[in-house]
């Protein structure tokens, strides 16, 4: 049986990638409000439509599948590592530091750095990701609207880290 906290509903994350040339990637965060134990006890299959990868794809995401999360203690400091997410520009992965149930830091373990343009974008995207995560937490918002940008890989890896942390 899992410890459940009503204010922090359990989330199941399913990362499924069709890894098409245009690289559509799905990130599903299901937050059941009722009877969450039913969800925790069974592993959901990845959506079948998501299991295919087409030829010409830069790489198929290896992160299909799901990870449920049991409730965990919200005291102390811990670090959680997100899934490695394949993007058109290379793999990205982030690490989140959580202290007393609050995010205190987000760092990148892997990011595209093959060319000066990648480096330029990452100089911008990484601090942005970090402060967005911190701002979202303090503003009690559910989601963020913004012009489409290409650091989705970071957000996805961050989301998987948060889901693993039960945040």
């Amino acid at each position: 049986m899992h410890a459940l906290n009503k204010n922090r509903p359990l989330r199941r994350i399913m990362l499924a990638s069709a890894a098409t040339v245009s690289g559509i990637v799905m990130l599903l965060a299901l937050k059941p409000h009722t009877a969450p134990t039913v969800i925790t006890d069974s592993a959901a299959p990845a959506p079948s439509a998501a299991a295919s990868s087409s030829p010409g794809a830069s790489s198929g995401s290896g992160s299909s599948g799901s990870s449920g999360k049991s409730g965990s203690s919200s005291t102390g400091t811990k670090t959680v590592t997100g899934d490695t997410v394949q993007t058109r520009w290379g793999p990205v992965q982030v690490k989140v530091t959580i202290k007393n149930g609050k995010i205190t830091d987000v760092t990148a373990l892997q990011y595209p750095s093959d060319n000066p343009r990648d480096q330029q974008i990452n100089d911008y995207a990484l601090p942005q990701l970090r402060s967005e995560a911190l701002a979202a937490q303090s503003a009690s918002i559910d989601t963020v609207s913004g012009a489409t940008y290409t650091s989705q890989g970071y957000q996805q890896s961050l989301q998987s880290a948060l889901d693993s942390a039960g945040l």
């Binding site: 990130l27 599903l28 959901a44 058109r88 995207a125 503003a139 989601t143 609207s145 012009a147 940008y149």
Partner: protein, 246 residues
């Protein structure tokens, strides 16, 4: 589409919600297959090359093209589905498909709240909790990581928020009149209204119009509010936006 979708669903029987999620995700993959202009063999690519007609495509193609024609009419041509004289409905497909995915989840019995974020554009139904409304942060384009505003869905059953602007990898909004990158004094436009299909189109159109014309035009649309941020860091809002700020 190269876009991340995240789903937040509250309430409902978990098995029914999971089945609906699978349906919604399958629908998004199907949309990518049919509408992608990156795929040479997609129906829309073949339609653009005039190898097939609209009648040969899935019914969704005709539906989207009709919606796009309406958006083009309402925006006086500022929203367009032609790029370099070639059919390219990409500008409407993301918002439309995210709205449709949210509708699929909303129909599940017992579901009390749905939020679908498709690459920074959000469609919401209901509420996350009985005592709390959905809250959407608007990313501040000039202060990376900061929020320019927070929009609340308090008091309404459905709300959508879409933001258009300059992206990390360069300008991507084209002025349909010149075929070149839009010359605009804006860095971002956020539009708020009941349906994502429309607010996504309106954000794109208003961005291309620039702050003065864009604001006046958004003000003229019923049930729609907008927040425009200029390169000079001025924020301009439609009259009714204040009621939606959280």
């Amino acid at each position: 589409m190269g876009t991340v979708f995240s789903f937040d669903v509250r309430g409902g029987d978990p098995d029914a919600v999971r089945a609906a999620l699978e349906e919604a995700v399958a629908g998004l993959h199907r949309v990518d297959e049919v509408f992608s202009t990156y795929r040479e063999d997609s129906q829309v690519s073949r339609l653009a090359r005039e190898e097939i007609g609209v009648a040969d495509c899935d019914p969704e193609v005709a539906e989207v093209l009709e919606l796009a024609a309406e958006a083009e009419r309402v925006s006086d041509g500022w929203f367009s589905t032609r790029y370099r004289a070639r059919l390219d409905p990409t500008g409407i497909v993301k918002g439309w498909s995210a709205e449709r995915a949210a509708q699929v989840l909303r129909r599940v019995a017992g579901v009390s709240g749905v939020s679908v974020n498709g690459g920074g554009d959000v469609q919401m139904f209901g509420a996350p909790e009985p005592t709390r409304a959905w809250r959407v942060g608007i990313a501040d384009p000039l202060r990376p990581g900061g929020l320019a505003a927070v929009i609340s869905a308090a008091g309404v059953e459905e709300l959508a928020v879409a933001t258009s602007g300059t992206a990390e990898r360069g300008a991507h909004i084209v002025d349909p009149r010149t075929g070149k990158s839009a010359v605009t004094d804006l860095v971002a436009v956020t539009v708020v209204g009941p349906r994502l299909t429309w607010v996504d189109c309106w954000a794109t159109a208003a961005f291309a119009m620039g702050s003065r014309a864009g604001l006046a035009w958004l003000e003229s649309l019923p049930g729609v509010e907008g927040l425009l941020i200029t390169a000079g860091d001025e924020v301009r809002c439609t009259g009714g936006l204040a009621a939606r700020l959280g």
